[in-house]
C-alpha cells in the first residue's frame, strides 16, 4: 500500500485505531505519536497576546493522538475537554495542553478558549491559531527523573501535513487490557496486519515493563555514578596516602637504595603498599556490602548485590585503580637520590 498524501496516512491510522479497539479483551485503545517516556518532537508555541516571534515562543513537546488517548492512558483532563469525533479535518483547530504549558502560556488565567499559534503557518503566512479546549495533567514525557515539560496534544486527524515527517509517520498503539495484557499482543499484531500486512508493529511491551526499564536505567546510571565516585575517591585516597608516605619516607628509601635496592625494588615496595591499602579497603567494603546487601538489592535491577562475578569485578577494578594511583608516587620514590642516606646527619 502506498501512502502518498497525509490523508492516506491518517486514514490508515484510523483503520488501525478501529481494528485494535475491536480486539476482544481490549477495553480501550488509541494511537499516539510518542508514548509517555518516549520523548516527542518539540515545537515553538506562541500564546495569544504575545508577539509572533521566536523569542516569545514556548518550546513544547507535541503529541498527535486519537480521541481515546486520554481515557486509555487515564490521563486526567483537569479543565475543559479532550478530543471528540467532531474535531475533524476542516473543523476549528483545537489542542489540549498540559498543566505546565498552561502555567507558562497563561499564568493566572483560564486557558480554555485561549488560542495558541503553532506548528505551521496559517493561510497567507498568518499565524495558525489553535484553540485550547482542555488542560491535561502533566505526564513525564521523557523519563521518570525528568521534570514535566510543556506539552500539547493535537487530534491526529488535524495534524499539520508536515507533522508526519516530524514523526517519521510512526505512531504508537496504546491499548488498555480488560485483564492480562500479554495475551493481547498477538491479536493486536494481527489487527494491524489486517490493515496493511507490510506495516511493521514493533517494540511491543507493557507500560509496566517500560516503567521498569526506565527505572532500571536511571538506577543504573545512579549506580554507575556511585561506582565511579567511589573509584575516584579510592584513587585520590590511595594517591594521597602513598604520596604522603613516600614524602615521609624519603630518608628510608634512600637508605634502602644505599643497601642495594634498585628502582624496581622501590617501585614494588610502594605499589605493594598501595595494594595493601586497597586490600584493607576491600575487606571493609566487602563486609559493608554484605551487611547492606538487603538494602542494596532494592537499588539493583537484575543483579544480585552478592553476585560473585559482580563482587570479583569490583575487587579487580578497585585494586587496579589503587595500584595505578600508587604508581605515580612510586615512580617519584624510585628517583630518590640515595645520597640522602649519608647527608641527613
Amino acid at each position: 500500500m502506498a501512502y502518498e498524501t497525509p490523508g492516506q496516512v491518517t486514514r490508515a491510522f484510523e483503520r488501525i485505531q478501529a481494528g485494535i479497539t475491536a480486539v476482544p479483551g481490549v477495553a480501550s485503545g488509541a494511537l499516539v505519536s510518542a508514548a509517555p517516556l518516549e520523548g516527542g518532537g518539540s515545537n515553538g508555541l506562541v500564546p495569544e497576546g504575545r508577539p509572533i516571534d521566536i523569542s516569545s515562543s514556548i518550546n513544547s513537546l507535541m503529541r498527535l493522538v486519537t480521541p481515546d488517548y486520554f481515557a486509555t492512558m487515564r490521563i486526567e483532563l483537569v479543565r475543559g475537554r479532550g478530543f471528540g469525533p467532531d474535531d475533524r479535518q476542516g473543523a476549528p483547530l483545537v489542542m489540549v495542553i498540559n498543566e505546565t504549558l498552561a502555567r507558562e502560556a497563561f499564568p493566572g488565567q483560564d486557558p480554555i478558549g485561549k488560542r495558541i499559534a503553532c506548528c505551521e503557518p496559517g493561510p497567507d503566512g498568518s499565524p495558525n491559531w489553535k484553540e485550547v479546549v482542555g488542560v491535561a495533567r502533566d505526564v513525564r514525557a521523557t523519563g521518570l527523573e525528568e521534570e514535566p515539560v510543556p506539552e500539547f496534544y493535537l487530534p491526529m486527524v488535524q495534524a499539520p501535513g508536515a507533522a508526519w515527517s516530524w514523526t517519521d509517520r510512526t505512531m504508537t498503539v496504546v491499548a488498555r487490557a480488560q485483564g492480562d495484557a500479554i495475551p493481547l499482543m498477538a491479536p493486536l499484531r494481527r489487527a494491524v496486519a489486517e490493515v496493511d500486512p507490510a506495516l511493521p508493529l514493533y517494540n511491543l511491551g507493557t507500560m509496566q515493563g517500560r516503567l521498569m526499564d526506565s527505572l532500571a536505567q536511571s538506577r543504573f546510571s545512579t549506580m554507575l555514578l556511585t561506582l565511579f565516585g567511589a573509584l575516584a575517591l579510592a584513587a585520590v585516597g590511595v594517591y594521597g596516602v602513598i604520596s604522603y608516605g613516600v614524602a615521609q619516607r624519603t630518608q628510608e628509601i634512600g637508605i634502602r637504595m644505599a643497601l642495594g635496592a634498585c628502582h624496581a625494588d622501590v617501585l614494588a615496595m610502594v605499589v605493594r603498599h598501595g595494594a595493601g591499602l586497597a586490600g584493607i579497603g576491600l575487606v571493609i567494603g566487602l563486609a559493608g556490602a554484605l551487611a547492606l546487601s538487603r538494602l542494596v538489592s532494592s537499588l539493583l535491577f537484575r543483579v544480585s548485590p552478592t553476585d560473585p562475578p559482580t563482587f570479583a569485578a569490583g575487587m579487580v577494578v578497585l585494586t587496579a585503580v589503587a595500584v595505578l594511583a600508587a604508581a605515580i608516587p612510586a615512580r617519584r620514590a624510585a628517583r630518590t637520590d640515595p645520597m640522602v642516606a649519608l647527608r641527613n646527619d
Binding site: 637508605i255 634502602r256 637504595m257 642495594g260 634498585c262 642516606a341
Partner: protein, 236 residues
C-alpha cells in the same frame, strides 16, 4: 698473584663538582687514592673538606664529575644509576653516623635487607643474618625493634647489616659521631676485629682516639688529598 697486588680500589684524578643555583662547589679536586684488599684506611680532615663526598663516590652512591674509578678491576666511574645500584648491592657495605636502621623493621629484618635486595633465598638469608648478629653480639635482640635498642646496640646492628652480605669493602661515615666514648670504642673495636678477619675498611672520622686502629690515614683539605699528618704511617 695479580689479584693480591692490584688495588681493590683505584681512584685517579677524581673530581666532584656540585652545581647549586649559580654556585659551583668543587667538593673533590683531582683525588688519587688506592686501597688494597684487607686495608683499614681512615679518612680525616676538617668539616666540609669532602670526606662524605669521597665516601659516596667510593660507595657508588654518586659518580665523579671527572676521573676514573676502578673497583675490583671493573671501571665503575660512568655507570648508570641502575648499574651502580647493582654493584652496590654486591660490593659495598655502609655504616652511617645516624645508624639509619629502618624503624618499622625488627633487627632481623634490618640485617636481612641487603640480602633480600640480592634476591637470596630465605634459608640462606637466615643463616647469614644469624652469623652477622652473632658477630656483633646481638643475637638475643633479634626480634627487637630499633626503638627498643640503645644507640650503641643500634650501631652494632648497623655493622651487622653492613657485613652480612660479605661486601668487598666496608664504608663508614663517622660511625662513632652519635655515640658516647664507651659505645664508640666498642664499635671501633668491632671494626678492628672485622679488619683482623680480612675485611677492607674505609672510615671517615676526625676522632684521633680511634685512628690508631687504622693502618693508613688519608687527609683531605679543600677537596684534595694532602700528604701530612702527625699520625701518618705506612703499613709495613
Amino acid at each position: 698473584m695479580a689479584l693480591a697486588i692490584d688495588p681493590l680500589i683505584r681512584l685517579e684524578g677524581v673530581s666532584k663538582i656540585f652545581h647549586t643555583e649559580e654556585v659551583e662547589t668543587h667538593a673533590l679536586s683531582g683525588v688519587d687514592l688506592e686501597i688494597r684488599a684487607g686495608e683499614f684506611v681512615a679518612i680525616g680532615g676538617p668539616s666540609g673538606c669532602g670526606k662524605t663526598t669521597l665516601l659516596s663516590i667510593l660507595g657508588l652512591l654518586d659518580s665523579p664529575s671527572e676521573g676514573s674509578y676502578v673497583l675490583a678491576g671493573e671501571p665503575v666511574a660512568t655507570l648508570s644509576a641502575a648499574q651502580r645500584a647493582r654493584v652496590r648491592s654486591r660490593a659495598i657495605g655502609f655504616i652511617f653516623q645516624a645508624f639509619n636502621l629502618i624503624g618499622d623493621l625488627d633487627v632481623f629484618q634490618n640485617v636481612e635487607l641487603p640480602l633480600r635486595y640480592r634476591g637470596m633465598a630465605a634459608a640462606e638469608r637466615r643463616a647469614l643474618v644469624h652469623e652477622a648478629l652473632g658477630r656483633v653480639g646481638l643475637l638475643h635482640r633479634i626480634r627487637h625493634y630499633p626503638s627498643q635498642l640503645s644507640g650503641g646496640q643500634q650501631q652494632r646492628v648497623a655493622v651487622a647489616r653492613a657485613v652480612v652480605g660479605k661486601p668487598l669493602v666496608l664504608l663508614a661515615d663517622e660511625p662513632t659521631g652519635n655515640l658516647d666514648s664507651r659505645n664508640g670504642a666498642q664499635v671501633m673495636e668491632l671494626l678492628g676485629e672485622l679488619h683482623d678477619d680480612g675485611a677492607t675498611i674505609a672510615i671517615v672520622t676526625h676522632d684521633a682516639r680511634y685512628l690508631s686502629r687504622a693502618g693508613r690515614h688519608v687527609f683531605l683539605f679543600d677537596g684534595r688529598v694532602v700528604p701530612h699528618s702527625p699520625l701518618d704511617r705506612e703499613v709495613a
